[in-house]
Symmetry: C2
Subunit: 467 residues, 2 copies
């Protein structure tokens, strides 16, 4: 097909001014002037702004077609790129030809017509909502954030490892799993005790969707030294909140010869680096979010990039919470987990900064976290950010077999199924650590979009797997 | 923890010679000299080669520990980096201190002991096999290939879109699906006709693992113009071959205002670009594959990078196959699909080049492929490479609603479930195309590793979802 320029290229390539150019995209808006010409704003997704084309009434299809164009008609415009006379754009196209590729069937009922729509309405039409300014901008931000994460790890010498989605392990002992099966549901094979006979299932055993790639990726860490996962994970939690998805993407680095301080260093460096990158590369989209989604967003992000995260012991945080004036809904006591209200008080009101909370009581943490010498706490950390609370959770892993076994026994995890995880401590064990970062939670933080369902293309939540 | 240098940094940073350095990793081998010193080869995964450390018998733990070290003991060595006296390495460490972090429990029964192991044995111990030269090299190649793919698309202006893993759609009408459910298998709710009542399941309807993100990503293509997926996909096929996995990663670009030639152009450009990148960035690993896995691998890859892919009409290919001297197991007739033997004959013997086969009979292709003006063929293409056959399959998509509907009816696909896909043709439709690239198949091609189970960390095949 004829080559076209992207809107982004037209805006950023001064040498194109005065040249014949072609742009292909969708009509964002049409404005007809009394002077007998129309301004067509054409969007192709390459950047936030549409490129404006001026269609004179002398065009052969001006009356027959151009005056009937509505939002999201597909267009191809060829003309001369000129410095813009009007406000609001630097360049525009003086159109010689406007070809219409696709019309809008019944613009009155078009689900993403130019009027205002609620976020709920847009979620109902998730196949069309990327045609809005908001979801278009979110989509570009999502891409750039993902790219920044991959590049950060590549530059730091980490290898991307694709841990399995289908697994017969249940990593954290969490019960909320999706079962995966090819058995005929109406004719399930049973064993002589009346239980389902999963030996006849596709994988010959009961199989689930992964809740975390951590345990798997630790195996690769023990040979490649620095690794990370970045892929979909699943929770069958019946949570209908703005913070939960049944399917979401998680980033889980794991690195060898490292302790909890190294873990916190990496978390801080990662967050600062990717936010810095996205502020450079997506200025146009971020300006939109700052204006229409979260006032002060850019200041918030600048502050994350430019200030050290404050590191606080869990034990000290409990003291701060107990002695402050604030009344909390949930109790504060050494040994209890912190609730969102506590986390947000610490980073939003007390420290006014991102905070890394470290060394939690062992009884509220997972079996694989390294026991500290006090025998009461484990080398766990959470990174809390203002406005959202926990965004990263990690730990140094227990590398000593005898203590790992003790913790497995204490927490009631199935030791037999973890023989391979225990092997890592039997064969060339080393201190190592890692963390998990919820990709959508970070994207929500960076865009200011309050509902996590609006930062993933097709959100999966209880009752919703449409499209 | 004390900072260490990676082996890669020690090999590639001349200014470190003469400096005190620390390296942390695992022992690949130990050789004791009669002169009363030991050569320790330490591997940390950062590159193919281990770094050699020379441990003199004067070290305090020489007798007590160093002489007992076996493969994969975890070590930390500090000493002076010096130009190597021996053959085979450029630099080595004159050790001042050797700290042992982890021993090998019973080296005799250690599953990845230094002796030769079969690939089947290594698959049984997938949690340890990355400690071999082969799987370590595959893992670095996998990372670099993935990175090259992301960077290629980013540079070309494509946005990464994470299409859903869980879906209630069945994209290609293929029957081989994994069902995902949280229903209690021993107490399944039924409707009044005795069928399973999926309205009570987690998503309120029958839900499966995706077999392709294509239909979903087309929705994003219609606003962002250039998009791609890169994620896991699933096939519940009971195929126990060296080419099939139940869980594999797929790359699916989709771009607007483009036809089948543009599609073939992109496929060729992508393959050449990522192979070129990996040949620059993973020279050490590729040398190993060229020597021990596939003689002539580098020549093969160079030839792909440096020669134009030959484009052939399906109809012409049938003529070539019918008139050649070769006896095939499967029949050759216009209207029949090509088998692997035909594809390999075309690219390996007839053309001796990668081949793009174009315009297949409509009856052997999917409903969404664009009908050509001859009314008999569709704008589909397959990219065939010597040694493997099909590596990419793509098409221009049918953008005309009435013809799409006709094809949906002809092929018996569920039109109602596809209302949202049809909407793309009702609202601002444009010519567009895309293709699917099996990531593991490409990685197998680039490494010469013959079994696809050895290029993914934890392969899922019938009867196997261990780890």
């Amino acid at each position: 097909m004829t080559q076209a320029h992207t809107a982004k290229a037209l805006f950023t390539t001064p040498s194109l001014i005065g040249q014949k150019v072609t742009v292909k995209g969708w009509l964002r808006s049409r404005r007809d002037s009394k002077a007998g010409l129309s301004f067509l704003a054409i969007h192709d997704g390459s950047c936030f702004d549409p490129i404006q084309a001026i269609a004179e009434s002398t065009l052969t299809n001006y009356q027959s077609e151009i005056l009937s164009l509505t939002k999201d008609c597909a267009l191809e415009v060829t003309g001369t790129l000129v410095a813009s006379q009007g406000q609001g754009q630097s360049v525009e196209i003086q159109a010689d030809e406007v070809i219409i590729h696709g019309w809008i069937d019944n613009p009155e009922t078009y689900p993403v017509s130019p009027k205002r729509h609620t976020m709920e309405h847009l979620r109902e039409h998730a196949h069309l909502r990327v045609r809005t300014n908001l979801i278009g901008a979110v989509s570009r931000m999502r891409h750039t954030l993902a790219n920044a994460i991959h590049n950060f790890f590549n530059d730091e010498g980490f290898f991307w490892v694709n841990t399995p989605i289908l697994t017969s392990n249940d990593c954290e002992g969490a019960g909320e799993l999706f079962r995966v099966s090819t058995l005929d549901q109406l004719n399930l094979p049973k064993d002589d005790q009346g239980k389902i006979d999963y030996t006849q299932d596709f994988f010959g055993r009961e199989t689930f969707l992964t809740v975390s790639g951590q345990l798997n990726v630790e195996t690769y860490c023990m040979a490649l030294s620095k690794v990370y996962t970045f892929g979909p994970t699943f929770r069958a939690e019946n949570s209908n909140t703005s913070r939960h998805l049944a399917e979401f993407w998680m980033v889980e680095p794991e690195f060898a010869f490292a302790n909890l301080n190294d873990d916190a260093d990496l978390a801080e460096k990662l967050l600062k680096s990717v936010i810095k990158t996205i502020m450079q590369e997506r200025q146009d989209d971020l300006k939109f979010f700052d204006q229409f989604m979260e006032k002060g967003l850019l200041d918030k992000l600048n502050s994350v990039v430019n200030n050290d995260f404050i590191r606080v012991e869990y034990t000290d945080a409990i003291e701060i919470l107990k002695t402050c004036d604030k009344a909390f809904d949930y109790p504060v006591e050494w040994g209890l987990d912190l609730q969102s209200e506590h986390e947000r008080f610490l980073c939003e009101e007390h420290f006014k900064s991102p905070v890394v909370l470290m060394n939690y009581p062992k009884d509220i943490k997972a079996f694989y976290m390294r026991l500290n010498d006090d025998n009461k706490t484990v080398a766990a950390m959470d990174v809390l950010v203002p406005g959202i609370g926990e965004i990263i959770g990690g730990s140094q892993r227990e590398e000593r077999l005898e203590i790992l076994d003790q913790r497995i026994a204490e927490t009631g995890v199935d030791a037999e199924g973890l023989y391979w995880y225990r092997d890592l401590r039997r064969y060339g064990t080393v201190p190592h650590c890692g963390f998990g970062l919820g990709f959508e939670r970070l994207l929500g933080y960076i865009t200011g979009v309050p509902n996590i369902r609006d930062v993933i293309p097709f959100p999966r939540t209880p009752g919703n797997a449409k499209f």
